[in-house]
């Protein structure tokens, strides 16, 4: 129960970073923290006390395996996070090339 709550605290730190920070790289880092928190929350849901990794052993019959479904989902979510981070960094580099700064308060050519 406490673990779930700590996970959501990490989620909120990432959210704070995204909404509050002025530097583009810090915003990307905030998004990374949000991705980590959601992934950890998913795997925490699938954990089982005294569980074993979801791999069959050659000789023995393992009964108490951990839930493999969240693991499949978090694998997908990690790679989605990598895709988004790579795209955001590419945009950030091009913005730095055009505006000369990473500070979003100075990147204000869009009006209205």
């Amino acid at each position: 129960m406490v673990l779930y709550f700590l996970c959501l605290v990490l989620f909120c730190i990432g959210l704070y970073g995204v909404l509050r920070k002025r530097n583009i790289v810090k915003i990307i880092i905030g998004l990374g923290i949000i991705e980590y928190a959601v992934n950890l929350f998913f795997v925490l849901l699938g954990y089982r006390f005294y569980g074993r990794a979801p791999l069959h052993a050659v000789d023995q019959k393992i009964l108490n395996m951990v839930d493999p479904l969240p693991q499949a989902i978090v694998l997908t979510s990690i790679v989605i996070g990598l895709g988004i981070t790579a795209l955001l960094i590419a945009i950030a580099i091009r913005i730095y090339e055009r505006y000369g700064t990473f500070d979003i308060t100075k990147i204000k050519r869009l009006k209205g």
Binding site: P68, L69, T76, I78, I89, A92
Partner: protein, 171 residues
């Protein structure tokens, strides 16, 4: 118990990575959060995820450092956004308060109700032949997800190359 330590370390490292002035050290701090997450996956008996998270984390760090190191960056100046800070903190506070009640109704930690997954565990080896049930779920029971997943990565590579191409428009 060690999960609690790992989580508190991750929270502390996340705060450090957001608040520190120098960009490069904040990137290194986010690396620390990623490696702690990889350790947490190992403790939670998810070896597949630990490998993937570790390796993806390294690539993320290399790309992030690539983006921040060449620039002669002044130290990050913090703005006086009073209203923005208050509204974010109020939103975060309400969110955490309501989430505490919602978390009470989830099944307790460590005792998941594995309604659908029970069949994966029983038939995983016989139906798909894969020893690693995680791969059996990814590439056979829910292979359509992985097709979407490969497309997401393909889209981000093509999108990245589209954004980084040199002459944007023909004059």
């Amino acid at each position: 118990m060690e999960l609690h330590i790992l989580l508190i370390f991750m929270i502390f490292a996340a705060i450090v990575s957001l608040e520190i002035k120098d960009l490069l050290s904040s990137v290194v701090a986010i690396g620390a959060v990623g490696f702690a997450l990889c350790l947490a996956f190992l403790v939670l008996k998810a070896p597949d995820l630990a490998i993937t998270q570790l390796v993806v984390e390294i690539l993320c760090l290399v790309i992030l450092i690539r983006a921040t190191i060449r620039k002669d960056l002044p130290l990050v100046i913090e703005g006086r956004w009073v209203f923005n800070t208050i509204s974010t903190l109020v939103f975060v506070g309400i969110f955490l308060l309501f989430s505490w009640w919602a978390l009470k109704e989830l099944p307790p930690f460590g005792k998941p109700i594995m309604a659908v997954v029970r069949r994966y565990l029983e038939e995983g080896l016989s139906k798909t032949g894969a020893v690693n049930l995680d791969t059996a779920v990814i590439l056979d029971f829910r292979a359509y997800d992985t097709l979407g997943e490969a497309t997401v990565l393909f889209t981000s590579v093509i999108g990245l190359m589209a954004i980084l191409r040199r002459p944007g428009r023909k004059e």
